[in-house]
Amino acid sequence: MLQFVFRRLLQAIPILLAVAGLIFLLFSVIPGNFASTQISDGRAVMDAEAVERMNRQFGLDQPLATRFATYVGKLATLDLGTSFRTRQPVWHLIGERLWPTMQLAFASMMFAILIGVPLGFLAALRPGGIVDTVSMVTAVSGLSLPKFWLGLMLMYLFALQLGWLPSFGYGDGALRNLILPSIALGVAPLALLARTTRAAVLEIMNADFVRTARAKGMSERRVVQWHLARNALVIVLTTVGLQFGSVIGQAVVIEKLFAWPGLGSLLVDSVSLRDIPVVQGCILVIVLFFLVVNMLVDVLAAIIDPRIRYS
């Protein structure tokens, strides 16, 4: 197993390098750079000399290849560079924003798992029944609702109409501040988990070993507990892993909407101001998180299902 973990970590290196290269190239070809963003709101003026000085300060006057080599060289020593905007190390900025994003991601996934998985299970146990119909309609709606709109509706209902929760902000990271953004972010994975669980359970229900267990006179409760749940869990776990990673990426919209101080809002700010080192740093951290979560999921799957062996 350790060998597997080590191999997966090694595999992450070329992936991260490819992502880093892609972001670097992308931000080199799109119009505008940090200096130009400083005047784009029409408030400030800056002459060519000042722009040149700023570009020189941030190394933007160097040829593309030189900049890329410098960037990769720094990356090799885990140096993500310095923010053009704040003049602070990128690691410092990411460090400030990582925990709120983690809080949001964990809370939204907990919401999705705790509701989506049982819902999918119940739906599969009585296919075509009322629970199945209602949960699947809800699941499809959950998947198709735009997060921004859903977030606004939640604010409107629970903050403005009912007055139960604050409509925005981080507070001190308290649960009441976390609830609405987590639901807004967690509804799509909830819907996907419900559908995946339902499909997995339905498939396993018709499997030979389940039929054999029932034929041997095993109680329905034990069949569900030992055969259905355990086998479906491996499939569900893979979906959870994938969703966990994508939730971090999707948090961008929700964080801006709820004024949540996470990595997503830092990323949006940095893209709009062409603060390239921070953009690169944020995306690399998000990708790394995605890879690590999925590796952990693979490890967990092997623990749950002894048939899975990584050699």
Binding site: G32, A48, L160, G163, G169, K256, S265
Partner: protein, 529 residues
């Protein structure tokens, strides 16, 4: 239109006067919002040119001058007196002796000189350098050719002298938060910006990046009895829809409104009671590049101005959240000429002008535009059929907001639509139309007219403020006639405020910038305690 503006201004001032007559209440928390797209940059106000950062800077720091919104002009803040030399270049300041930093240390001339020198550090590209550069010798520091700004001289702890490179009123450029005065010695400590100290009415408590800045009353603030509130919490909230819900839910005390919300708030019997409107110093315009042949002809540019029904667009699309432009200098500029009339919507005249210019069948041009709802693609789309009626075809070149500045600076456009600052100092602003100003600075349409150059030069050289204004009015009128841009509108900034928040100022330089030492909340505020 002008009458409407004067009426609205009069009503605003009357409402604010009533507020001012109420006895300010001490205590409570002001829950302010920073309404623009990004979060606060850092705890260092010198590094950012963004209004978001000025919003907290106004609470934490003080600059040599401050903007007096009621009188619409700068006034001394950290000095009690100033005198000017006969040549109008050297200014001597007598500093206040009661201005204490948040650690209790008295401000001296050294702090001002050190702060300005820091801003000119060429290796850091601080945005405030564009202001300090107007002090003699500042550029030498920026280029690394000197360590001290030769134009700044300490006379004694409470007196210093400042020599400028050209005649100008320093009040117009030394009130910005980017030129805030830091404590010289303390600011050089490595952890200073973890808990910065300043001279402002509120002390730093905490900054949760992306979420809020919390500040509390500085008891030894140099204005007796001020500030009134115990605390200020400023939340960056770029999303207008979230701000709207938070405001209606009474979680925040103010919100800046966009056109759609402006209509909704005006129509609401309760919300409409708390609306503050100001003609901000921003002119929305379509710049025309004379390097593109048709736009090199003044008649074509005038034709464009006649062909567009600006009033209709302002009414329908901008939802009356703007004032029709009648020149480059806006309504709130001291050199605004109220006698000037807008270009009449007259397609026939436009066609005639185009024919005279040699374009009887019109022409086609590419129009660079961002997605901005008030001065971007939606406006261009409304203009396209109007121009088509006089034979002018438009191809939209969409561009991201943050890339517009660089594109225009490089001259990489045939036409662009933008909102540019047009104040507060009319002289500084009209210098953007001086032929000596390069396109990369702010002469984006490479405008050139010797008569305008002469008037601007004379205005810069005169010591008579009234004469300066007259000269600038004349220059503004010539520019208007030359029509280097389509003069669209002046921004009407609109702030919604809760009934318990008092002391708001109609700041024409930027409505979101409020002097927090003037603000107070009455007992009905949810955060009154």
């Amino acid at each position: 239109m002008l009458n409407k503006w004067f009426l609205s201004t009069a009503l605003t001032l009357a409402a604010l006067t009533v507020q001012a007559q109420e006895q300010p209440r001490r205590g409570g928390t002001i829950r302010f919002t920073a309404p623009y797209a990004t979060s606060f940059t850092s705890n260092d106000s010198h590094v950012s040119p963004q209004i978001q950062d000025e919003i907290y800077t106004y609470a934490l720091h003080r600059s040599l001058y401050r903007w007096n919104a009621a009188e619409n002009k700068p006034e001394l803040e950290l000095a009690t007196a100033v005198s000017k030399s006969a040549d109008g270049l050297t200014w001597t300041y007598k500093l206040r002796d009661d201005a204490l930093f948040h650690n209790g240390r008295k401000m001296t001339a050294d702090d001002i000189i050190w702060s300005y020198t820091r801003i000119m550090d060429g290796s850091k590209s601080y945005p405030g350098a564009r202001h300090i550069r107007r002090i003699k010798g500042a550029v030498d520091v920026e280029k690394g050719q000197a360590k001290e700004i030769s134009g700044l001289k300490k006379i004694d702890d409470q007196t210093f002298e400042m020599t400028l490179v050209e005649k100008a009123d320093p009040g117009f450029f030394l009130y910005y938060g980017q030129t805030a005065v830091y404590p010289a010695k303390e600011a050089q400590e490595p952890d200073f910006f973890n808990k910065p100290i300043g001279l402002g009415p509120f002390k730093f408590v905490e900054h949760v990046p992306g979420s809020r800045m919390v500040l509390e009353r500085w008891e030894k603030y140099f204005k007796p009895g001020k500030p009134y509130a115990d605390k200020v919490v400023i939340s960056p909230m770029g999303e207008a829809a979230s701000r709207d819900i938070a405001f209606r839910n009474k979680e925040i005390d103010v919100s800046i409104l966009g056109p759609t919300q402006y209509v909704a708030y005006r129509a609401d019997p309760n919300l409409s009671k708390g609306i503050l409107e100001v003609a901000e110093v921003f002119t929305r315009n379509m710049g025309m590049n004379p390097a593109f042949k048709p736009f090199s002809d003044k008649r074509v540019r005038q034709a464009i101005n006649h062909a567009i029904d600006s009033d209709l667009i302002i009414k329908r699309l901008v939802r009356d959240k703007a004032y029709r432009a009648t020149g480059w200098l806006p309504l709130s500029s001291p050199a605004y000429d109220k006698e000037m009339k807008p270009y009449a919507f007259d397609p026939e005249k436009a066609k005639k002008l185009l024919t005279e210019a040699g374009y009887p069948d019109g022409f086609e041009f590419e129009w660079t535009a961002t997605p901005n709802e008030s001065w971007g693609v939606p406006i261009v789309e409304a203009v396209i059929p109007m121009l088509a009626k006089v034979g002018v075809k438009v191809k939209i070149k969409p561009i991201e907001g943050s890339a517009l500045g660089g594109t225009v600076q490089k001259g990489d456009f045939q036409a662009y639509i933008w909102s540019n600052t047009s104040g507060p100092d009319p002289l500084t602003i009209l210098k953007c139309y001086h032929s000596a100003t390069p396109q990369s600075a702010c002469n984006y349409t490479t405008y050139k007219n010797p008569a305008v150059d002469k008037l601007i030069d004379e205005a810069g050289n005169t010591d008579d403020p009234a004469k300066r204004i007259e000269l600038l009015k004349k220059a503004n009128a010539i520019i208007y006639d030359d029509a280097p841009v389509w003069f669209f509108n002046y921004n009407k900034a609109v702030m919604a405020y809760q009934p318990w928040l008092k002391g708001l100022q109609p700041n024409a330089t930027e409505l979101a910038l409020q002097q927090y030492d003037e603000l107070w909340v009455d007992a009905s505020s949810p955060a009154a305690k």
